[in-house]
Symmetry: C2
Subunit: 194 residues, 2 copies
């Protein structure tokens, strides 16, 4: 009984993720992915049977990875300030690697129409409550905690989605872009806290 595992299956998924989440080519075909992975297209069918299954698996793993990282932060027993700092770090590192991942999830959501799992809502609500308490303590400006959340995630995610456009508009090269994004971690923290 030979168990060879050439790593091709994983390689295909990684390539798909790169194309969808890093390069933002949301309309990529199975052929595009096979080409990028340097394998015969039939292999996608061999490992995943259908395009839909592959794409679905990629989307599911995307959601899971995202949740895992975020939940780790949400669940941590840090005080709010540290938790916020950690959240910004973790989220932005993720978003820098996979700027279009959320976009993929959103368009996937708009095509089919999926449900957000209850447990996720619960966790977010807990975080909203923490935010509210922090406002009571006067550490954050009073506002609807949902606005606070929207602000926070907007500041983190959007500039990365806009990557390509920003580079052109603001005359930024790759190195400088990376620098700007790193600066943002600190900048965002200071913007939303105190």
């Amino acid at each position: 009984m030979a168990q060879r595992d050439t790593g091709t299956e994983q390689h295909i998924k990684d390539t798909a993720k790169r194309i969808f989440f890093s390069e933002g080519k949301l309309h990529a075909t199975t052929q595009d992915i096979a080409d990028a992975a340097g394998v015969n297209r039939t292999l996608l069918n061999y490992y995943f049977r259908t395009r839909d299954i592959l794409f679905e698996q990629v989307a599911t793993e995307a959601r899971a990875e995202m949740s895992k990282e975020m939940d780790g932060v949400f669940a941590s027993q840090l005080e709010f300030k540290d938790k916020l700092e950690k959240l910004i770090n973790v989220f932005m590192d993720q978003a820098m690697q996979y700027p279009y991942r959320e976009m993929y999830i959103i368009t996937d959501l708009n095509r089919n129409d999926r449900q957000v799992p209850e447990e996720k809502k619960t966790r977010v609500n807990a975080f909203l409550k923490e935010i509210s308490e922090e406002m009571d303590k006067g550490k954050i400006k009073r506002m609807d905690p949902r606005h606070f959340c929207m602000n926070l995630f907007a500041l983190m995610a959007y500039p990365l989605i806009n990557n390509c456009l920003n580079k052109s508009l603001y005359n930024i090269n790759d190195a400088e872009y990376l620098q700007l994004m790193k600066e943002r971690k600190k900048l965002i923290f200071e913007m939303v806290y105190q």
Copy 2:
């Protein structure tokens, strides 16, 4: 010589825009659009000859409409504070109608690879300079003006892109969502100015 103009051509484009920009169905086919418009698919070929031409036209108009609104604000002779207020108003009204328009433009940009016109860069640079001057006056916190721009547009655009997810996560209905988005205009202004 009969000039009938049944308005079908415009109707098809409007429908395509609704599907792409309002509903965020970035993978819609010509059939999807024809169905949504309630017309025979052949009409898309009759009026636009090919799918690519239709989509291209939609994208071009999207960019043009966006630019028109924004340029109107950028070019206005208002003092910075008023200009900023106007910008937020105009942009968010647009974004509320067509939350996914930018996303469409971005994915379009990632598929093919287009150039941002020079004139646009010039205009943005002028705005960056205005921002810098306002910082000199002490009206805005000192930072790289490009960060200021990224912050501003992130705060405006992202929550609308995240529309669907937000509604689920924060338990928001349509009416409340509209209310929150309206509140944001004021909130964003206060967040970035002074």
